[in-house]
């Protein structure tokens, strides 16, 4: 032992005793789990008077108890700081799991990106419904004036306008025997809204009737456009016996040999 006097509550070097201020006292050892006695308990010894040298141990005063030596009979052991921190961290993590899951779900389900609420402006070239019609062309000018009056064609309404999806179609046939060889078809919504015109000529290539028909076709489609009328008329005559296409003033003219015809429609 060192030379200095032990302090109250100090343990002996072997840890089995503690200093109560006047003498070394035994540190209570943890009670072992009671084991069943292998034999019947011995008879109780005869009562003995307590030895004056070894009085029955009494628990020391609380302020004299060494750390960790509190008797179990005093209640549950108080948690240390490490235990408290572990419990707090565990609780934090336990709370974070459902919280994080709920937060992620909420963010995924409830937060929506924002975008434009209106579509972008349409370019000038964007197709417009008004482009469906041949500009300046009327049913009256084609059917009544050109075909019926000038060329004695007969016209009748057809069931369906297949080429352009227009509301109405008028089929006009040449007079007499020409009815089997030449015909003109007009698809339109109303008199001033013509979508499509086609003229069929079933004569062999080189026939003057077809040349005259295609030339007149070009003229009538551009009748209200004097600056383009001659160009269209010439193109029809020149390309009568070919497969060709052109666009004049926003109108597409197309000639085909099989079947032999010319057709006009808005360019798009």
């Amino acid at each position: 032992m060192s030379g200095h006097a032990p302090r109250i509550g100090e343990r002996s070097p072997d840890g089995l005793s503690w200093w109560d201020g006047t003498a070394w006292r035994s540190v209570p050892q943890p009670a072992a789990a009671p084991a069943p006695p292998p034999f019947p308990p011995p008879l109780a010894p005869p009562p003995m008077s307590p030895s004056p040298q070894f009085p029955p141990p009494s628990p020391p005063a609380p302020h004299l108890m060494p750390p960790g030596a509190a008797p179990r009979a005093k209640g549950r052991r108080r948690p240390g700081k490490v235990v408290a921190v572990l419990i707090a961290v565990s609780a934090l993590l336990l709370g974070a799991c459902p919280g994080g899951t709920a937060g992620v779900l909420a963010g995924y389900l409830w937060v929506e990106p924002t975008g434009p609420t209106t579509p972008p402006a349409m370019a000038a070239d964007f197709p417009h419904g008004d482009q469906r019609y041949l500009p300046g062309v009327t049913v009256r000018a084609l059917a009544d004036d050109w075909l019926k009056k000038e060329n004695s064609y007969t016209c009748a309404a057809a069931a369906k306008a297949e080429a352009s999806g227009a509301k109405q179609r008028l089929d006009c046939e040449g007079p007499g025997e020409l009815s089997l060889e030449v015909s003109v078809h007009i698809e339109y919504d109303d008199d001033t809204h013509v979508r499509y015109v086609a003229a069929f000529c079933r004569f062999d290539p080189g026939a003057n009737y077809c040349r005259s028909l295609f030339s007149g076709f070009g003229y009538k489609v551009f009748e209200d456009k004097p600056e383009l009328r001659q160009q269209a008329q010439d193109w029809g005559a020149k390309n009568v016996d070919s497969d060709n296409v052109t666009t004049i003033g926003g109108v597409t003219l197309l000639v085909s040999l099989k079947p032999h015809h010319i057709r006009a429609m808005p360019a798009s």
């Binding site: 408290a84 994080g100 995924y108 409830w110 937060v111 975008g115 972008p120 070239d125 197709p127």
Partner: protein, 200 residues
């Protein structure tokens, strides 16, 4: 008459300074920590995932698809109708808008979910189409740009990509700004583009 002195509050329950905290206090700290963890992780998860969702260019709609955010299909249909296109509602709320100019057929099919556009199939068909006119390109550009009408950079990318493929007469696929684009080019006769949001 003397009164019995009242014991000081807490007498006999004072924490043992040498034995650490009481269980009650530790449990209280644990409960507070759990609440803090719950709220903190919840807020953090919401902010992180919510931020990611906010930055996306497509919105949740349905179970296995995404939609163009904010832009109602009805708004698109109205714009087309005002331009003279004919629109009709089909099964399951899909909208189809068509316009025939001569023999050229413009058609846009919009798959709609809860008012938003989930998928677009846009085509221009012309039996005698020998060239791709500016009108046909403008039609494709407009639909392709619907998801990002307010982003000139992405709009430029999309238009450049479409122009390149049409000039090369080449069918292709690409992902631009979180949307999948599939373009089909059959010479100049048939141009078709499909636009749908990427799931991830």
């Amino acid at each position: 008459m003397t009164t019995e002195p009242t014991p000081p509050v807490g007498a006999g329950t004072a924490p043992d300074r040498r034995g650490g905290l009481s269980w009650r206090r530790v449990l209280l700290v644990g409960a507070v920590a759990a609440v803090v963890g719950l709220a903190g992780a919840g807020i953090a998860g919401y902010l992180v995932i919510g931020g990611q969702e906010k930055a996306r260019t497509s919105a949740n709609c349905g179970t296995l698809q995404r939609c163009i955010p904010s832009l109602k299909a009805a708004t698109v249909v109205d714009a087309l109708t005002q331009r003279g296109h004919e629109c009709a509602e089909q099964e399951q709320g899909a909208r189809v808008c068509t316009l025939a100019i001569g023999e050229t057929k413009y058609q846009a099919l919009l798959a709609v979910w809860d008012g938003l556009i989930a998928d677009m199939n846009v085509s221009v068909w012309s039996p005698e189409g020998r060239e791709v006119t500016p009108g046909r390109l403008a039609y494709l550009f407009w639909f392709a740009a619907l998801p990002y009408g307010d982003d000139p950079t992405l709009v430029g990318q999309i238009e450049g990509w479409i122009t390149e493929k049409v000039e090369k007469l080449e069918s292709a696929q690409a992902t631009i700004g979180g949307y999948r684009y599939e373009i089909t080019v059959e010479e100049a006769r048939n141009l078709e583009i499909r636009v749908m949001a990427e799931l991830r």
